[in-house]
């Protein structure tokens, strides 16, 4: 693969990432040891952002694959395509990453069916290789290659859990929503709002997160807080922005909606 091609996976500008605890150091160590990493955590808490940041920090290319249930092993590994001149092999993203020594990030990996996930097994143990059965080729992973998967244990059904044999190939970092002070500065930096507004937004999020399991599947994510702040930047009044960005997307339950609306009124008084 040409340098040009590799370049497209390089992250040139530092993605802003506010560290929550010691996850940066932990990840660096895992990378040093080329351990596969699993990142768990609720939606919108900064998992993807973290990986982008780490790839930048380590100076490695990053290939991200959003998994879904229609995905097959070939979508990861590659396949023969038919064209007018016959057949042509095209590498899948996982193969590309193994060849060029990228960090391969499989986002929401549980969405993929279990027969798909097993193709990553040989890459994630001592073998560090990837057999391309159809092509009859065995790829030895580049020394820089690392596999990272993410998943959100919260709303998955029992049916969709990862197999033990898959889970036990990874080291894991568990993310949660950032602490109030960290989240406040994230909102401030991401959306360019005042500390006061950011603090209030975080308080509303905390209220909603307390209601998880009482009719809410997920609390308000950091991502939505940034949305709310962005709406305010566009001149939308604070309470209206909160209702639109924080409450309406996450619930249809009128009791919960009323309670969160009341929290907004109490906090943005």
């Amino acid at each position: 693969m040409s340098d040009q091609d590799i370049k497209q996976y390089q992250i040139s500008e530092e993605p802003y990432y506010e560290s929550q605890e010691d996850e940066v150091a932990l990840y660096e160590a895992a990378y040093e040891a080329r351990l596969p990493v699993m990142i768990k955590g609720p939606t919108g808490c900064g998992k993807s952002r973290f990986i982008e940041h780490m790839a930048w920090k380590l100076g490695k290319p990053l290939i991200t694959v959003a998994c879904n249930e229609d995905m097959t092993a070939s979508d990861l590994v590659g396949r023969y395509l038919l064209d007018a001149n016959g057949t042509r092999w095209v590498d899948g993203p996982l193969t590309t990453a193994a060849r060029i020594g990228a960090i391969c990030y499989l986002d929401e990996v549980v969405e993929a069916r279990q027969d798909t996930t097993v193709v990553i097994h040989p890459l994630t143990d001592h073998r560090r290789n990837l057999p391309l059965d159809k092509k009859g080729e065995m790829i030895e992973a580049h020394t820089d290659f690392q596999l990272v998967i993410s998943y959100n244990p919260g709303y998955q059904s029992l049916m969709k859990d990862l197999k033990q044999s898959t889970k036990q190939r990874f080291s894991a970092l568990e993310f949660d929503y950032p602490s109030a002070s960290v989240e406040t500065s994230i909102v401030m930096k991401e959306a360019g709002t005042s500390e006061d507004i950011a603090q209030k937004l975080v308080k509303i999020a905390v209220t909603a997160r307390n209601l998880k399991g009482h009719g809410l599947d997920e609390g308000i994510s950091t991502r939505l807080l940034v949305y709310a702040a962005n709406l305010m930047n566009k001149g939308i009044e604070a309470k209206a922005a909160c209702r639109m960005a924080l409450v309406r997307p996450i619930t249809d339950d009128t009791d919960i909606r009323d309670t969160l609306d009341h929290a907004i009124d109490s906090i943005f008084a």
Binding site: T72, L81, H214, A263
Partner: protein, 756 residues
């Protein structure tokens, strides 16, 4: 009687002559009454007034009714109009023609209050009509047509009118009265209980008619508020403001929960729900930032003062967390007006403290008094330093009492006006007591609590409503349902049944196998799969031939789709099950037992979550719900032993057991929920004569379930069931089994075909 001036003006003498009433006592009051009447009434009004009084005089109930009529009429007219002068006297007359003479006085006495509350002729007329209607319906006759026995409920009702008028709209009163008159016409004792607001359903209907924001309607919202905004997880216990006349109870909390009123009206621009939130916020703030202190070190005044500062402190902290609370607290806090308390003759301590309390909430309080301002300032100074605790409030409280003391503070005439902050709790949690004497009391409390705990063994009844198709309303809390564990017999009996039906069981098993493969779903767009997906394959070839990149995912495969259904089987255990149907040598009960055993075996093999319960009833006060198998239990000896002890008795009141079963089924996480009812007849009970009533109620219950996504299916062994069963369960909601002896075979089959 002392001599008073009874001389009449010549004009009044003319009036006196028009009033045909010979009571001597009249002379003493006539002049006064006429003075007021002349000021209020027109000439015609005065004429009606005098002839009205003459009529009231004629009923022969002594002087008192006449006096009340004369005294109160002017006021009544001021709230309504002069037509009432005639109306009321005529009512009194009509009243006296019934056996309810004793109630005339209370009736007459209720009119002025009714006029004041209702404030219009029309409304007052409604009120009178409602009372008369009730009287007519509850006055009974022994033989024939003439009413001879006075209404039992009427005196009780008239006792409650002031309260009713305060709590309910006139429509509410009417609905409440109608309900009692309809249901207890022929039950003197229950009628009395109802109209004196003693019985449970009386209170329940009363609550339903009440205005304002009801706790019951908002319980979940308030729980969410508590969880979400305060991370507090205690539960609420509502109390009623209605039945404690002397002192309105205040919110409080203790080890048994948080007590809040059962209803809040909108007040001072604050909605009922926000009043609840204010109360809860205040209590939550106590629980979060407060602690108990020893009471014995302080005088009563000091304690009151400390409470005020402590309440203000925790609210200050709550407002810091949720600034929006300030405006709510402030609106709900009474506003004591400076100088309105006469501190020469009465105790104004509460008044002064309330001013401080208000001033602490509202920076624009405008109070001039220097001590009050000084303490408001001191409070803020302490709070702004942060980390102020209850001990700082103790200091403030004591020092305020010391510095503001007035001799009149200990006068018995305490001014309470504008001092009661009704969203605040009674602060009982604030004080710890060392005295021995108090321990006794708390020991008593404890004992009572323990007794309660003990009763948990026998679950308290659950109350369910019943649908009354006549009035198209629910009778709230009408049915008491007791759930108990079915007692146990010998599990071997069931094993023998299963052995007897061995070949049937084997056949069923085969059917089960057939059931399973049909649970497959097709997955298309597979690169590798078990079959070629022709549609896609052809499309790919066309793409390929026309020079485009073909889609290689031309296969499909199949996946086993898990069944996701939860089942509840409700078995009618009424006395009629003892019958042995024609041509059978087993009773319906035996056949049911066999059928249920086979069904249980079947469902266990399918791995569907499954529960069994039996029910029967002996009037609405005693509906039994017998737990046989729960969702978490397996088809084991424990369950079998209960099934083997299954016995029949009593009647078939079906609505409440269905509702109760539904509440278990509702909590099952399954996609589809099925309630199977096995019964041998129509719903009926000994306390209900109208055969449609329970049928209609059952129909309603089934409707309720379907709105909760629960599918109900009835298996009836009643050959005549076709007459009514479709009405209850809907066209496809039932199966009638004609050959009862086939039941053991039919039931599992039916289940399988229902869930295919």
């Amino acid at each position: 009687m002392t001599d008073i001036d009874i001389s009449l003006t010549p004009e009044q003498q003319v009036y006196r002559d028009q009033l045909k009433c010979g009571f001597k006592q009249l002379d003493a009051v006539f002049a006064d009454c006429m003075e007021e009447a002349e000021a209020v009434f027109s000439e015609q009004g005065i004429a009606d007034y005098l002839s009205g009084a003459s009529l009231v005089c004629m009923i022969g109930r002594g002087f008192e009714p006449v006096l009340i009529y004369l005294e109160e009429m002017p006021q009544i007219v001021q709230c309504t109009d002069e037509s009432m002068i005639k109306t009321i006297s005529q009512c009194v007359w009509d009243f006296s023609r019934t056996p309810n003479g004793k109630s005339i006085l209370p009736f007459l006495q209720s009119i002025p209050e009714a006029a004041r509350r209702l404030g219009s002729t029309e409304q007052l007329q409604h009120y009178i009509d409602v009372i008369f209607d009730m009287m007519k319906r509850t006055t009974r006759s022994i033989h024939g047509h003439v009413d001879t026995i006075p209404s039992d409920g009427l005196p009780e009702l008239l006792n409650q009118t002031t309260y009713l008028l305060h709590e309910l709209s006139i429509e509410g009163i009417k609905n409440w009265i109608d309900y009692g008159a309809d249901n207890y016409r022929n039950h003197p004792e229950r009628q009395k209980d109802y109209f004196s607001l003693q019985s449970a359903d009386s209170r329940a209907v009363f609550q339903r008619e009440r205005h304002g924001t009801l706790f019951t309607d908002n319980e979940r919202k308030l729980n969410l508020y508590m969880h979400g905004l305060w991370q507090d997880h205690d539960h609420f216990v509502p109390y009623s403001l209605g039945f404690d006349e002397l002192r309105k109870p205040k919110p409080y909390y203790d080890s048994l929960g948080i007590r809040v009123p059962d209803v809040y009206d909108d007040h001072a621009g604050i909605s009922g729900i926000n009043r609840y939130r204010a109360t809860i916020a205040h209590i939550a703030a106590h629980r979060r930032w407060g602690e108990a202190i020893w009471a014995d070190n302080f005088s009563p005044f000091q304690r009151i003062s400390i409470e005020v500062f402590e309440d203000s402190r925790i609210e200050y902290l709550a407002i810091q967390k949720y600034p929006g609370l300030r405006s709510i607290f402030q609106a709900l806090h009474p506003y004591p007006i400076e100088g309105s308390c006469d501190d020469v003759h009465s105790s104004c301590l509460l008044h002064r403290l309330a001013m401080i309390s208000y001033g602490l909430l509202n920076p624009e309080h405008g109070y001039k008094e220097s001590k009050i301002n000084e303490f408001i300032a001191r409070f803020h100074e302490i709070m702004e330093q942060g980390e102020a605790g209850i001990n700082d409030m103790v200091q403030l409280g004591i020092s305020y009492i010391a510095q503001s003391k007035q001799a009149s503070d200990s006068f018995p005439n305490i001014i309470f006006d504008n001092t009661v902050v009704d969203y605040r709790d009674d602060n009982r949690h604030l004080w710890k007591f060392i005295e021995e004497g108090d321990e006794e009391e708390s020991f008593d409390d404890k004992k009572e609590f323990e007794r309660d705990e003990h009763d948990v063994d026998k679950l308290p009844p659950r109350h369910y409503p019943e649908w009354d198709y006549n009035s198209k309303t629910y009778r709230p809390d009408w049915v008491s349902l007791y759930e108990t564990l079915h007692y146990k017999g010998d599990p071997e009996k069931i094993n023998q049944i299963l052995a007897k039906h061995d070949s049937l069981a084997k056949r069923l098993k085969k059917m089960l196998e057939l059931l399973k493969p049909q649970q497959m779903v097709r997955i298309r767009y597979q690169e590798e799969g078990s079959e070629l997906d022709l549609d896609v394959a052809i499309r790919s070839i066309i793409d390929f031939k026309s020079g485009h990149t073909p889609d290689p995912r031309i296969n499909m495969s199949h996946r086993n789709d898990g069944r996701d259904i939860a089942v509840m089987l409700l078995v009618d255990l009424s006395a009629s099950l003892h019958e042995v149907p024609e041509g059978c040598d087993q009773s319906i009960l035996e056949l049911s037992r066999e059928a249920v055993s086979l069904l249980a075996l079947t469902i266990e093999q399918l791995n569907d979550p499954f529960a069994i319960a039996g029910f029967h009833s002996d009037t609405r006060h005693n509906v039994r719900y017998l737990h046989i198998k729960g969702y978490s239990e397996h088809w084991d000896d424990e369950v079998k032993s209960r099934l083997s002890a299954m016995e029949a008795g009593y009647s078939t009141r079906m609505g409440a057991p269905i509702r109760h079963a539904a509440h278990y089924l509702e909590n099952q996480p399954a996609d589809k929920k099925l309630l199977l009812i096995l019964t041998d007849g129509e719903p009926a009970d000994i306390d209900v004569d109208d055969e449609h009533l329970l049928i209609e109620d059952t129909r309603k219950a089934v409707e309720e379930l379907s709105s909760k996504n629960i599918y109900t299916h009835c298996i009836s062994l009643d050959k005549k069931a076709d007459d009514y069963i479709g009405d209850i369960f809907g066209k496809n909601g039932y199966t009638v089994i004609d050959h009862v002896e086939k039941l053991p075979e039919k039931l599992p089959q039916l289940f399988m075909s229902l869930t295919k």
